[in-house]
Amino acid sequence: MAQGIDPIHQFQLHDLAGPWNIAGHEISFTNSALFMGIAVALVTGTILAAAARGELVPGRLQSIGELWYEFVHNMVKNVLGHEGKAFFPLVFTIFSFVLVANMLGMFPYFFTVTSHVVITATLAVFVVALVVVVGIARHGLGWFKLFVPSGVPMVILPFISLIEVISFLSRPVSLGLRLFGNMLAGHIVLKVFAGFVVLLGSMGFGGIIGSIAPLGMAVALTALEFLVAFLQAFVFAILTCVYLNDALHTHH
């Protein structure tokens, strides 16, 4: 009972296979890994099935796939321009992975991969590291001019550069924490309100009447969480594009 309404329990990892170890680190196949695999299978299956028919006038499934493709494609094209074409598969992968992982988390008893900070932080660090690598590969050391805005008086230039560096270094933090925080908080709040319903419902007739309000709240929050699940995937993808734009076009 207590476990059933514990809002934190849903984030618990369980070993499904293992324990396995590599170089002293445990890498057991957990429920988190299982849902990552489900997300990969869902994304790949949907897109492949959508593209399989390849009809001139798309059916429902093909429309979904095309909408999905065009949505990310337009995002990359609008932010990065034609040079961003090489990054389209990456942005598509990030968007789809985060979106489907978020959406899977909306099912009861399913695990939310993106509610763990290590996942979102790894993705965020990967994105920002990629920006640095691509930036240096494209522009050499001249890429570091990104931190030295032109037209700033020499007196305050060091401070501005320091602020620019700090703001750049805070990108992975904000990028990762935003997704993590949204998913974690949303699921906790959802669970808390659902827990109210269970608690009040077990208190007899008065409790059942009283549980109507938290039930309505839980329903409304579920709708909101679906919006958040999509929105956070979109935000993560578009910020990836915006950051990659710094690597491609240095003029600030």
């Binding site: 934190i8 329990h9 984030f11 618990q12 990892l13 369980h14 070993d15 324990p19 590599i22 002293g24 680190h25 445990e26 890498i27 057991s28 196949f29 957990t30 988190s32 890994a33 990552m36 695999g37 997300a39 990969v40 994304v43 790949t44 897109i47 492949l48 959508a50 593209a51 399989a52 390849g54 001139l56 093909q62 796939g65 095309e66 493709y69 065009e70 389209f88 598969p89 990456l90 598509f92 992968t93 789809s96 992975f97 509610s115 763990h116 900070v117 290590v118 996942i119 790894t122 993705l123 993590f180 974690l184």
Partner: protein
């Protein structure tokens, strides 16, 4: 090594939910290797013990998804969209070609229509002129014969009239001579009476 990091993580992360930390104190030793499963006191997302596993599987599955997308799914999707784009474009160009053809046909038709109309107008004018000329010729011929007949009739009338006048004069002279001889008893010749009448008349 993994045990020491686990212990550090638990120590730092269980500070907030303090009450549970007490029973957790002994937990790492017993749940070693499956700390994620056994620990209820810690806050799971901050449980550093699970980090290697999550990162490992994230790298595997994210990399797999990237490969599947970039090598397999997205090129197919792109092919479908390119095919549609091309089909639409070719249909559009075909449609515009047909439209041009139609326009040319319409122009041609309108031109021949205008030609035919001009032609018809020419023929009509010509015919009208011809008919008018014929009518005119016929009319003038008719008028000529009519006026000839009229003149002839006039001549006949005047001749008849003159003859009639002659006859009247003769009758009058005869009558007058007889009347005079009857009244006076003196014989009066016809010539005398005629002269007298002519003198009256004059």
């Amino acid at each position: 090594m993994s045990q020491s990091t686990l212990a550090v993580a638990e120590a730092t992360t269980t500070e907030a939910p303090a009450p549970a930390a007490a029973e957790e104190g002994a937990a790492p030793a017993t749940t070693e290797g499956t700390g994620a499963e056994g620990g209820h006191g810690g806050f799971p997302p901050m449980d550093a013990h699970t980090f290697p596993s999550q990162i490992f599987w994230l790298v595997i599955f994210f990399g797999l998804l990237y490969l599947l997308m970039s090598k397999l799914a997205l090129p197919r999707m792109e092919a479908v969209l390119t095919k549609r784009h091309k089909a639409i474009e070719s249909d559009l160009s075909k449609a515009s070609a047909l439209k041009h053809e139609t326009e040319a046909a319409i122009r041609h038709y309108e031109k021949s229509l205008a030609d035919a109309r001009a032609n018809a107008q020419g023929i009509a004018t010509e015919t009208r002129a011809k008919i008018a000329a014929e009518i005119e010729a016929e009319r003038s011929a008719l008028e000529k014969t009519l006026s000839a007949k009229l003149a002839e009739a006039d001549a006949r009338i005047s001749a008849t009239k003159a003859k009639a006048m002659q006859d009247v004069n003769e009758v009058a002279a005869e009558t007058a001579a007889e009347i005079v001889s009857a009244l006076t008893g003196a014989p009066v010749s016809k010539d005398q009476a005629a002269r007298a009448i002519a003198g009256l008349k004059g």
